[in-house]
């Protein structure tokens, strides 16, 4: 009877994941979609704890399970509640890493268990257990354990590096031949895993052929942990050389990795909820990754092999490109107050300064004066796709004012003043003119088409991807240095006085 309810619970969970994800892709239903998926997850967890049976045996260790659930829930809840809007991308990366680590740990325990069951069923060893009465371990079982281990570990290690990069703890790092090392690492992992899978399955058919089953068990375990270490290395080297502009793509990709790792667990336990949830996220995440790559006019392969960081080194050669001019606050205020159309280009600098509210205030003030104000949102502005949308939505900026890349580019030639707030690479004309630039080919916001460009930055330092921006030295461009929040406050005060 319990089994029926278990199946029903998993079915409800699977349906809630699918419908929830669907609802998440529409603004009106997104919030309900998220809660629906959360409800489905709760059902899946509850039925697993109380109704799961393995060969007629219920689960044990309730104290451990509830303790872990409680600790995890408290940590997750507090982390998610306390995190700043600016740190949201790091948080997602961190949570993703936790999921990957969870999948890898499951594989570790299952593998250890399998080794014991197969080669060391009882200690001390008896003749009977060594003669292969346990039966051969199916290759598929070892395969999904290894897949869960490798994919989960790569996702965990990669997410940790992505997290460190986003909050500035880890710097871009690359050396000649790193790509080769990566390919080599991946090949070795594949070769070792294949060997382990085939050998384990074959040997398990007759563990009795070993003079010492303990030795066999030890060597398999050793190989298993060697693969774990290699997978950690691969995850680290995989993300390390990739520049900041690619982080959104990397997080999205690792997100789909973790989905696949979770699905491996579904295969292992013949669990439909894990399988549907995992594959769903794996497929959706991969598509999202490809869409993002397309927005930057780069192939997924190009991102995967980490060539961005390598070429970025050569791209940032010339530090002196001419002179730039500064503009005073009152001139900038005047320019905007008497413009017909103003376009605001937000970037990560706006997020760091937490200047979204004051930015909205400036927009309202200008609108009251009859200026047409809109925001130009580049798909990869900030450190995550949609980062700017979330940030501006927090400040109550209405949807209609947020223009996507193509819309904004159509309007830019008819725009009087462009105000760039802490954005850099997404307005870098080198993407169109300089084939040597690492971002060459990426669609950008053509702000130089507007009559005047005011760029707010903290200093002349190049952006997150470390690439010089010729826009700053253009004849139409004026620089307005300072923290975005402070500058905007002063701009608002200036315009109020006009």
């Amino acid at each position: 009877m319990g089994y029926v309810f278990l199946m029903l619970g998993y079915l409800l969970a699977s349906v809630s994941f699918i419908v929830g994800l669907k609802m998440l892709s529409h603004p009106d239903t997104a919030k309900r979609g998220n809660r629906l998926a959360a409800a489905g997850m709760t059902i899946a967890i509850v039925v697993t704890i109380f109704l799961y049976e393995d060969n007629g045996e219920r689960l044990g260790n309730y104290g451990w399970i509830f303790g872990a659930l409680f600790i995890g829930a408290v940590i997750g809840w507090i982390a998610a509640r306390k995190v700043q809007m600016t740190a949201m991308p790091e948080m997602v990366s961190l949570f993703n890493g936790m999921g990957g680590a969870c999948a890898a740990l499951i594989s570790m325990i299952e593998f250890n268990h399998l080794v014991h069951e197969t080669f060391l069923p009882h200690l001390p060893l008896s003749e009977e257990t060594l003669s292969g009465t346990i039966g051969q371990v199916p290759m598929t079982q070892v395969l999904v354990i290894m897949l869960g281990l490798v994919i989960g570990t790569v996702s965990f290690a990669g997410s940790m590096i992505a997290w460190g990069k986003l909050n500035g703890r880890v710097n871009d790092f690359s050396f000649r031949g790193l790509q080769l090392v990566n390919i080599l690492l991946l090949s070795v992992i594949l070769a070792f895993s294949t060997y382990l899978i085939v050998r384990f399955s074959t040997d398990s058919a007759a563990p009795g052929i070993f003079e010492n089953a303990q030795t066999a068990a030890n060597s398999f375990t050793l190989l298993f942990y060697l693969i774990l270490v290699l997978a950690i290395l691969y995850g680290v080297f995989f993300v390390l050389p990739i520049g900041g502009a690619d982080m959104p793509v990397v997080i999205s990709l690792l997100n789909s990795f973790t989905g696949v790792a979770a699905a491996c667990g579904g295969f292992l336990y013949n669990n439909k909820a894990m399988l549907t949830g995992g594959i769903l996220v794996g497929a959706a995440g991969t598509l999202l990754t490809i869409l993002m790559c397309r927005a930057m006019n780069r192939s997924l392969k190009n991102v995967l092999l980490g060539s961005f960081g390598a070429s970025a080194k050569s791209g940032s050669r010339s530090s002196e490109q001419g002179s730039f001019k500064e503009i005073t606050l009152s001139d900038a205020g005047m320019m905007m107050a008497y413009a017909e159309r103003v376009m605001i280009v937000p970037g990560y600098g706006l997020a760091v300064a937490q200047a979204q509210h004051i930015c909205h205030e400036l927009e309202k003030l200008l609108t009251q004066r009859g200026v047409e104000v809109a925001y130009a949102i580049h798909p990869v502005a900030g450190r995550m796709p949609g980062h700017m949308n979330v940030l501006l939505a927090e400040a109550d900026v209405s949807y209609e004012k947020l223009l996507e890349l193509e819309e904004a580019n159509q309007l830019l030639p008819r725009t009087d003043v462009v105000l760039v707030l802490g954005a850099n690479d997404v307005v870098n004309p080198a993407a169109k003119t300089d084939p040597a630039s690492p971002i060459y080919g990426m669609p950008i916001l053509d702000v130089e088409q507007a009559r005047q460009v005011i760029v707010n930055k903290r200093s002349m330092k190049p952006g997150y991807a470390g690439i010089e921006n010729p826009l700053f030295f253009g004849t139409k461009t004026s620089m307005l240095f300072g923290d975005a929040k402070k500058v905007l406050q002063e701009l608002v005060a200036t315009i109020k006085e006009i």
Binding site: M41, G67, I75, N96, A101, C102, N255, A284, M384
Partner: protein, 103 residues
């Protein structure tokens, strides 16, 4: 080749689910506006936290004498729960900012 067909036969139910879910995942995401990319990624991140079920099973089946398995399983459940709870709560918070404005 024959072995592969046998394998397909043995796992055909699972393989059907995998294939259908791949199409479904692509279909569901296909028409998402870019405004929702971040919350969607975060929501998907919470959903793959379903790996917690595996962690609970592993924990519940562990031999109470086997401390290595118990500790690793405990860690797996903690990490999985952080993924699930944190993921859904963070998504909920992001989506709070998309609430319809009162005029």
């Amino acid at each position: 080749m024959y072995n592969f067909l046998l394998w397909l036969d043995a796992y055909q139910e699972m393989i059907y689910i995998v294939v259908l879910m791949i199409f479904l995942g692509i279909e569901v995401i296909g028409r998402v506006p870019s405004v929702l990319h971040t919350p969607l990624m975060s929501g998907a991140n919470a959903i793959h936290g379903v790996v917690i079920i595996g962690a609970i099973i592993v924990m519940g089946k562990a031999d109470p004498e086997n401390y290595v398995a118990l500790i690793l399983g405990f860690l797996a459940v903690v990490l999985g729960t952080i993924n699930v709870v944190g993921g859904f709560v963070v998504t909920d918070r992001m989506l709070d900012m998309f609430r319809k404005k009162r005029h």
